[in-house]
Every structure is written in C-alpha cells, then in structure tokens.
C-alpha cells in the first residue's frame, strides 16, 4: 500500500508575496527620497562644457563630450565590448555551415539581398556624419550589424569569414590606442587634439581635428564585434 504525501502548507504563494512586499518597500523608499528634494535649475558641469565646445569647432556637442572630454570612458567601453565578444566566441564557437534548419521563403531571400547594400550605406552615412548631426560611431556600427543579421537569418549558408572580422577589429583597436599615445608624445596629454581645429570650419566634414577619425574607428570596431557576436549566437550545433 503506497503512502501519499499530503502537503501541510496552506494554499498561499509565499515566495510571490514576499517578493511583492520586498520590492514594493524598496521602490517606495527610493520614491520618497526622489520626491523630497527635486532640484530646480542648478548650474551643472554640462553648461560649462557647452561653453568650452567653441574651442574645438565641432557642431555636435554630444560627440565632443563622448570622444574628447570623456575619451577614456569610450576607450573603456570598447574594451568591454572586445572582452564580451571574446567570451562569447570562447563559449559558443563551432564550425557548422548551416544557419537555419528550414529553408525560408523566396520573397525573404530576394528582398534581403536588395536591402543589404542600402542598410550598409545608411550605417556608413550615420557613422561618418557623426560630428555634424545626431548619430556617431556606436549607432552606425549597430546598424551595420543589423544588416548582417538580416542576411544571416534568411540564407542557409551565409557567413562572414572569421579572418576579415579579426583583421578589422585589430586594426581599429590598435590605431585608437596609438592615436592616444601620439597625442601623449606631441601634446603631453593623452588623446590630445593634434590636428588643426579652427572654429571657422564648423559644419564642414573635416572639422574638429582627430574627432571624426576616432569616431569612424569606433564605428568600425563596434560593427565588426556585433557581427561576430550575432554570428556566434546563430551558428551553433543544432542538437540543442
């Protein structure tokens, strides 16, 4: 004769209720702190940086802040992306040739071949005009990677060759740090602006010294790394 286990707990979801209570308490505390001292107009550091932007001669002030005044944070963020793509390649790398199991529709195949150069062109435009209108290296690189993703999910045997991505990545990364070290040699400041940057040239393509070059380098690196991440996540052994 088998013994049936009877649960002695009441029919109350205890974990859900305790999670509700804990998170609600935390959010109410934070809300209290935020609503009590709501500052009115104060003079922040960004206003002084806006006034200093005139010495660099670049039309988009967000680009100046990202690349020049806070160039080290951009270098650190590129290092984070580099290590992340390295880790994903370490875990999920495989040499299969097949992307998807089911052959996709002929409409999708034809349309993706037509759309891919347009997406690539748009991404390069956003990347190069980053210092004159909203956009820049990160945005352009992600657009290029989304174009590669479109081709990867609509064709069965498409792949970007591994050596091309590694070559682009190495070139971009080494030249970023070398530009910084050259600035250290010439101007005694790491990532100093050593090309001519007049304020009279604001609005032209070649204004602002080294700022457009650095943003293009950042865009190449981000585009190639995101493509490698996406390719590693799609091409796996299909027994999982």
């Amino acid at each position: 004769m088998s013994v049936k286990k009877i649960s002695l707990k009441r029919e109350l979801p205890t974990t859900t209720l305790s999670g509700f209570a804990l998170s609600g308490l935390l959010v109410l505390t934070i809300l209290n702190i935020l609503l009590q001292n709501m500052p009115t107009k104060i003079q922040t550091a960004g206003d002084s940086l806006l006034k200093l932007n005139a010495t660099e001669g670049v039309a988009n002030t967000v680009t100046t802040v990202v690349v020049f005044f806070r160039g080290f944070d951009t270098l650190g963020e590129i290092a984070v992306l580099f290590i992340a793509s390295l880790g994903i390649g370490l875990m999920l790398h495989s040499n299969t040739k097949c992307n998807i199991k089911v052959e996709s529709n002929f409409m999708l195949q034809t349309a993706s071949i037509i759309l891919f150069p347009i997406i690539l062109l748009f991404g390069t435009y956003v990347m190069i005009y980053g210092h004159l209108s909203p956009g820049g290296g990160f945005q352009g690189g992600v657009i290029i990677a989304s174009g590669v993703l479109l081709l990867l999910i609509s064709h069965k045997t498409f792949e970007v060759p591994h050596s091309v991505i590694v070559a682009l990545e190495t070139f971009a990364g080494v030249s970023y740090v070398l530009i910084g070290l050259i600035g250290l040699l010439i101007l005694d400041v790491f990532l100093g602006n050593f090309l001519p940057h007049d304020i009279s040239q604001m609005g032209l393509l070649l204004s602002g010294g080294i700022i457009p070059f650095i943003y293009i380098i950042v865009g190449i690196k981000v585009g190639s790394e995101m493509s490698m991440i996406v390719q590693n996540l799609i091409k796996r052994d299909h027994d999982v």
Binding site: F69, R70, G76, G87, T170, V177, L181, L184, F190
Partner: protein, 182 residues
C-alpha cells in the same frame, strides 16, 4: 614617463594579440611577460622619487578626467604589478605539462584585468571608476568559467547574475548624484 602607460600598455597588448600570435607559439606568452616586467620596473623606479604629481587627460580636473599618482595609489600599483608578474612566471614554468587550450585568450583576459585594476586605483572621476569596475568584472566572469565543466559554468553564471544587478544599482546611484549636485 607618465602614469597613463600603466593602463595604455596592457590595453595595447590586448588589442594587438592576433598580430603577435604570428611570431610562433611562444610569442604571446613571452611578450606579455616582458611587458609586465617593464611595468614592474617602472613602478619601482617611481618609488624612488618622492613627489606626488597629477596627470591630466583633457582639461582641468573639475571638468575633465585626471589620474592621481601619490604614495597611497603607488602602493597599490606596485602590489598589482608584482602579483601579476609572479602569476605569469608561475604559469610559464608549468606551461610544458599543464597548458590551457586557448592560450592567447587567457593572456588577453589577464592583461585586461591588470589594466582595469590599476585604472580603478588611479582614477579620480566617478564615472571612470564605474567603467573600470565593469572591465574588471567582465574579465573575471570569463576567467571563472574558462574550463567548460558544469561546475565552472554554474559558478560563472551565479557570479555574473550578482554582478549585473550590482552594476544596475551603481548606475542608479551615479544618476542621482549627477541630478542633485552636477
């Protein structure tokens, strides 16, 4: 010789590794060892001078990023470079019998950890400290799951979950500081 070299040289080594791996099987390991010995000698030579100096990045410190190298941070820099040199030496001695599979990635991660730890200690800007914290964290997540056994992967997964929640709250705190003070 400025103090930026402590951070820029390991980063340059990490980015340029595919070029260095064409110099044969041992190129990456011995170049990494040479670079760490150079950094150790730089730190020891800085110990002899007794002045404390500030290194700037773009503009003056209240508005830009600056790195401060006084005797307190020099102690940590010396400690980190000494530990990393000893660790690389230990690995090079045991390399004939017990090597890892993908050695180049192992050395890249080690040097990134060294660069970010030194950057944490030297920097004096709070958002810069957050970025270096993330670099150190992410290279430690991968190093703890390097052998792909189930227990190693589980350890890396739990470490990553805790670290990701911590970084969300860090960004929240930095946002509150900027909103109230500027």
């Amino acid at each position: 010789m400025s103090s930026i070299l402590f951070i820029a040289l390991p980063l340059l080594f990490g980015f340029a590794t595919p070029i260095l791996s064409k110099f044969g099987k041992n190129g990456v390991a011995y170049t990494s060892m040479l670079m760490q010995l150079f950094l150790l000698s730089l730190a020891v030579s800085l110990l002899m001078t007794t002045s404390s100096y500030v290194e700037l990045i773009s503009i003056v410190p209240p508005l830009g990023i600056s790195f401060v190298l006084n005797s307190a941070s020099l102690f940590f820099v010396l400690l980190f470079t000494l530990l990393m040199t000893l660790f690389s030496l230990y690995y090079l001695i045991h390399r004939k019998t017990d090597a890892y599979k993908d050695e180049t990635k192992f050395f890249i991660l080690l040097n990134m950890l060294l660069a970010s730890a030194i950057g944490l200690v030297l920097s004096s800007d709070i958002f810069n400290i957050y970025v270096f914290f993330e670099i150190a964290g992410i290279s430690a997540y991968i190093l703890s799951a390097y052998k792909k056994t189930p227990s190693a992967l589980e350890a890396g997964l739990k470490y990553l979950l805790t670290g990701a929640v911590a970084s969300v709250f860090l960004v929240f705190a930095i946002a509150l500081i900027y909103i109230n003070i500027g």
